[in-house]
């Protein structure tokens, strides 16, 4: 402290600051974090939605845990309690306590509904955030591991959702548990042991609710909290990515400091998220368990579905033909009708997501760090793959809703199912090809824009009788965004033999790698080079007398910026 504080308030602040600084190094922390720069873009806030809905989940979940009784002891619901349709009905304590906290605890139903909406929003924002990361290539070096952390968080989110959905012990969630039990039993050899291990005996048993409770309020959220910490620390370590633009490079971050701008923005956004969830919880009913009644293994109602993020599994089960179950020699049943949709399909979907960053890096051979994001159109194959995975996911989710689609659109459920069966097999390929072609076409449009500028619609006639349309050139900033990227090219692997004519070891492996690389990067549109731009302008200058002055005045700076840009890229 160079100059002593004068007012009492300043003295108090200085004293407090000094206390923490000398004990936990607060000054350094504040200096480090308060000046951290974050770039501005709406899509950078999708992960925040997930974080904030998780905080809301912790807050409301704590409230619910105070009143919820995780027990499968059979009780009779009191005759004088609400709702009317449950009076005197035999049920588990878990179900009874959920009814009690919904109808007889002040604010209980609101808390339950906010909690459930927040869970749905948590998964929705995770998926949307993941899409943003995927399509902009934010998973590239050095962030591959953080992608894996995020992927694990998504899986944990699914687990948290599924365990929570099952806790009230109503018919609907019991149906879901029964499917989980069926999938476990479908695993060859160890299936029935797995099922007995999970349920402590034959389904449903009397221990699954307490076990799910432990997983739901301790194990899974604990893991999520720990991984969220890792996820965020890695964001700080790597610094935030940014979209390409003038002045933005792989070596800087252009944006606003955490304090005060992002403290206000992010802090305010928390309240927006909480507010939206509170409004949804207050006005839209969700999971009205008294509609389904307490769990009983016999009834299944029409329209029995899991929450949306598990709907793809339900859809896979509904699409799979039942004839694929058979009995082998020795009398063992192989349930491919459950194994394929319950284990293989999600396995492929999830594994391809988890390993994608490593696969793409292997195919491109690009080991450089990337802090500038890709525009999705500039990486057509990746964008196509992403859309294909999403298409498969969406088709499965729709197939999981086939009965709802049938009743609401007056269609035949059998026909819907057949359409989805075909779509699931061909849809992702069509989506891939269409998306890839659209990306290439958009890149060509970008090239056109850079070379010729915007069409103004102003047609000019020259003295010679020639008509031309005047094109308005792009500004330097606009042009920079369209030409800054460097497309990945397929790997060059050289010849099969070395200079002495001897076959190179490992060449076969290299050839396979090149094949993958070709799949990813063979089709591409190169961005406009400075030479091409100069050439385009020269040929214009010859005829476009009207625009010649504009062009001449802009030609120099943009060429300089392009050169500087290409220099910075390497």
């Amino acid at each position: 402290m160079a100059s002593a504080p004068t007012t009492p308030a300043a003295k108090l602040a200085a004293g407090t600051g000094d206390f923490f600084d000398t004990r936990i190094g607060a000054g350094k922390l504040v200096k480090e974090f308060a000046r951290k720069v974050f770039p501005d873009h709406w899509s950078f806030m999708l992960g925040e939605i997930a974080l904030y809905s998780f905080i809301v989940l912790l807050l409301t979940g704590t409230f619910l845990a105070v009143f919820f009784v995780p027990s499968m002891t059979e009780v009779h619901y009191p005759e004088d309690a609400l709702p009317v349709t449950m009076r005197g009905v035999e049920m588990s304590e878990a179900f009874a306590s959920t009814l009690h906290l919904s109808f007889h605890v002040r604010g209980g139903l609101l808390m339950r509904q906010i909690h459930h909406w927040a869970a749905l929003l948590f998964m929705a924002s995770i998926v949307t955030h993941m899409m943003r990361i995927f399509f902009t290539g934010a998973f590239r070096k050095p962030r591959e591991l953080n992608w894996v952390v995020g992927f694990t968080l998504m899986i944990l989110g699914l687990l948290a959702g599924f365990t929570g959905y099952s806790l009230p012990d109503d018919v609907l969630s019991g149906n879901g548990l029964r499917i989980a039990d069926g999938v476990a039993k479908g695993i060859p050899i160890i299936g029935s042991y797995v099922s007995f291990l999970l349920f402590g005996g034959e389904f449903p048993g009397t221990v699954i609710i307490p076990r799910l409770f432990t997983a739901h309020i301790l194990l899974v959220p604990g893991l999520i909290l720990a991984l969220v910490a890792v996820h965020l620390i890695l964001v700080v370590v790597h610094k935030h990515t940014q979209y390409p633009g003038p002045g933005r490079t792989n070596r800087n971050v252009v944006g606003y400091p955490l304090f005060p701008v992002y403290m206000a923005k992010a802090g305010g956004f928390f309240f927006v998220v909480f507010g939206v969830l509170a409004i949804m919880g207050a006005t839209l009913s969700i999971n009205s368990i008294w509609n389904y009644g307490p769990y009983d293994p016999s009834p299944v109602s029409a329209g029995a579905q899991p929450d949306w993020y598990m709907l793809f599994l339900e859809g896979a089960l509904r699409l799979m033909p039942g004839q694929t179950e058979f009995v082998t020699w020795g009398g063992y049943t192989v349930s491919l009708n459950i194994l394929v949709p319950g284990v293989v399909v999600p396995g492929i979907l999830f594994t391809s997501l988890a390993v994608y960053p490593f696969l793409e890096q292997w195919a491109s051979g690009d080991k450089r760090e990337h802090h500038l994001l890709d525009r999705p159109r500039n990486v057509p194959t990746r964008t196509g793959v992403g859309v294909a995975i999403l298409t498969a996911f969406i088709i499965l989710a729709l197939a999981g809703s086939n009965d709802i689609i049938a009743t609401h659109f007056h269609l035949s459920i059998n026909e819907i199912t057949w359409v989805f069966r075909v779509l699931f097999l061909v849809g992702p390929f069509i989506a891939f090809m269409v998306t890839k072609r659209m990306c290439l076409a958009l890149q060509r449009r970008d090239r056109e824009l850079v070379l010729h500028g915007y069409e103004t619609g102003r047609v000019v006639r020259f003295a010679s009788g020639e008509y031309i349309e005047v094109h308005q050139p792009l500004t330097d900033a606009e042009r920079w965004v369209l030409v800054q990227h460097e497309p990945a090219r397929p790997l060059e692997i050289g010849s099969a033999e070395n200079e002495r004519g001897v076959a190179r070891p490992g060449y076969k492996k290299l050839q396979r790698r090149q094949k993958v690389s070709n799949f990813f990067f063979a089709d591409r549109v190169e961005p406009v080079t400075p030479a091409e731009l100069a050439h385009a302008h020269d040929s214009h200058g010859a005829s476009a007398v009207e625009g010649a002055d504009d062009h001449a005045s802009l030609a120099r700076p943009e060429r300089e910026s392009l050169e500087a840009g290409s220099g910075a890229q390497h």
């Binding site: 501005d40 873009h41 709406w42 950078f44 806030m45 999708l46 925040e48 939605i49 009317v84 349709t85 449950m86 009076r87 005197g88 009905v89 109808f103 139903l109 509904q113 459930h116 909406w117 749905l120 929003l121 929705a124 924002s125 949307t128 018919v171 609907l172 701008v261 305010g268 927006v272 998220v273 939206v276 969830l277 949804m280 207050a282 839209l284 009913s285 969700i286 999971n287 009205s288 509609n291 389904y292 009644g293 016999s298 009834p299 109602s301 029409a302 329209g303 029995a304 579905q305 929450d307 949306w308 993020y309 709907l311 709802i404 049938a406 009743t407 269609l411 035949s412 459920i413 059998n414």
Partner: protein
């Protein structure tokens, strides 16, 4: 006297007489023991005559002049009873407007009195289940909690947990029960229209049927959806749709606003 009786025993008319007496006894016991169709007896001859006229003008083209039915077109209505007629006509399912996987409900074509007349005439063709009494369908006398248990064991797999409706095979469907009257609900259980199984009084007792009605009426009470808008009461699919539209929609809009302000 005894001799005369012994002689009559060998009379050639004796077996016929005995058979008649036996039939009379069985019929008499049945008439006393069998449940009497409560509403059937209230129909007057005028009503029956009107019903026949209405039937011949509106239904006979498919079902035949005396409701005997026509192969591959329409079933015989002899013995279906007044409950079936009242259900089909009062929900607008009959007369059918066009061929479809199943007859859809539509605004009824006949007034309540005409429907009653039609039912009365068809009931005269042969004995069948008759429409329930007002007491049998009075939801306030039923036990909604027991109705819930009966409903979810027998009805929910097609009609959804609280009767929002559900899909059946090949374009058929179990309709929503949110606007069906108590009498129609009772008649549907009793007669099993279209794809629906018959739930006779041995399957579900009349009291249990009334409990089901009480459970379904509970879904229409003012406080039936204490959590707010019920989103169609079809469960997690519509909830998932709304979290994307309302939740993600509003928050992405907010993010665009926050992200755009300073740039």
């Amino acid at each position: 006297m005894v001799k005369a009786l012994a002689g009559a025993r060998r009379s050639r008319f004796a077996p016929v007489l005995l058979m008649l007496l036996a039939l009379l006894a069985v019929g008499g016991v049945y008439a006393i023991a069998a449940p009497t169709p409560a509403a059937a007896d209230t129909s007057s001859p005028d009503q029956i005559a009107e019903g026949q006229k209405l039937f011949q003008a509106n239904c006979a083209s498919c079902h035949g002049m005396s409701a005997e039915g026509r192969d591959g077109i329409a079933p015989s209505l002899i013995g279906v009873g007044s409950a079936a007629v009242h259900f089909q006509v009062s929900t607008g399912r009959m007369p059918m407007a066009a061929s479809a996987p199943q007859a859809p409900a539509k605004p009824p074509q006949f007034t309540a009195a005409q429907t009653k007349a039609l039912a009365a005439w068809v009931a005269t063709l042969g004995p069948g289940p008759s429409s329930p009494t007002a007491e049998q369908v009075d939801a306030s006398l039923g036990d909604a909690a027991n109705g819930m248990l009966v409903f979810r064991t027998n009805c929910a797999m097609c009609h959804n947990a609280i009767g929002a409706g559900g899909a059946l095979s090949q374009g058929k469907f179990a309709p929503s029960l949110f606007h069906t009257t108590p009498q129609q609900i009772y008649e549907a259980m009793l007669t099993g229209p279209q794809s629906m199984p018959v739930f006779n009084d041995a399957n579900i007792t009349p009291e249990a049927k009334r409990d089901v009605i009480a459970f379904l009426m509970e879904q229409r009470a003012d406080n039936a959806s204490p959590g707010g808008a019920n989103l169609g009461a079809i469960g997690p699919v519509s909830e998932g749709m709304w979290v994307w539209i309302v939740g993600m929609g509003a928050l992405i809009a907010a993010a665009v606003w926050i992200g755009a302000k300073s740039s």
